[in-house]
Symmetry: C2
Amino acid sequence: MTTPSRQSTKQRPATVRAKLLAVTERLIYTGGIHATGMDRIVRESGVARKSIYRYFPTKEALVAEALRERDERWMNWFVSACETAPPGPPRLRAIFEALADWFSQDDFNGCAFINAAGEVAAGPVHDVARAHKRRLRDYLCSVLAECGVTDAATAAADLLILVDGAIISARVGGDSRAAQRAARMAHQLVRDQNVSSTTGDSL
Amino acid sequence: MTTPSRQSTKQRPATVRAKLLAVTERLIYTGGIHATGMDRIVRESGVARKSIYRYFPTKEALVAEALRERDERWMNWFVSACETAPPGPPRLRAIFEALADWFSQDDFNGCAFINAAGEVAAGPVHDVARAHKRRLRDYLCSVLAECGVTDAATAAADLLILVDGAIISARVGGDSRAAQRAARMAHQLVRDQNVSSTTGDSL
DNA sequence: GACGGAGTAGAATGATCGTTCTACTCTCTT
DNA sequence: AAGAGAGTAGAACGATCATTCTACTCCGTC
């Protein structure tokens, strides 16, 4: 009697979790973790508070899972963008073309995992960020191996520095050519690796 | 009569602002901006709330000023660490030796400005972060010029990518050799710049 | 057709947020 | 000597925080 004619706003159970995670991912990427309150997540996802806490024990767990999903989605996008190019040097170039596209998007706000790791010192969120960077490095390693790079593992760690550095320069420094700069250095990297395999002295 | 014998806990006016900024800088570097409440700043600095709001209109202004001071201190440390080495390639090496030292410190928590920029989307805090990266790039440019690099400005933007990338790999990825990797790439960078000044095709 | 699980709406909790205010004390200046 | 300015301590404000709870509705299944 208190609510005479309630509309049927109830969502299908299967969609609740998905929408919850999608909205959470978007909000924390746009505004940061701490700045995103549960009220906002409730309002924009249309999922009731009670339902959220049925799926996730705490906000931290929700955020960690949303980031894990972003890891999945971002890596899928990145890999498929790179694999439009054939293996070898063209695919290496495609890495930075994909980054350049990403940087120029309107809603580009840096790397969600770098941002998250900068906001929380330790805990599951930081672990997800570290896992993402490891997965990215592993993929870079496979691309470098296709280029015939000796010691692709080492070169992948180098390449990851170039990728992350480009992200920071694009986001914080506003460098619109960051991806191109990183691409040029990556080119030098694989060229040197192929020409002379091991020159003992570093720098 | 309500406070019969209050101890003389009053600080010298000159020291209040300095201590306030020092404590704020430390807290936001360690725990992030949003996670650091004014209560904590009050407690750890010993500065009364009223006094804080005499110096700064809002928390945001306090944080921005604390970051501006960190910019000053960090750059002074960095430049003086680099200038223990003579100009030219040795000083370029010293850049990454300084970074390696920094990364291995117990309280290393990444770059305060990258962290801050990742936490807030826009506003004065983000501006301070961008200004810091510009100042760092300008110094890198001067070091590269001393190395005889043609187009030091472009190379400085490249070098900044290496520096920031190394910071991220060290902090997020836990790569303990990030500084050494970046140093090797920086070496390749200046070598290529010096040998062949302009090869038209990029990558 | 009744029941239980999972959904919604939204009030309520206690804590903490940034900010303001009152009351008092110290110190310098005139 | 007195007053002004700047400090401290800490209560108080309203807003918002994450989390819990009550009350109700839908839907699939015995």
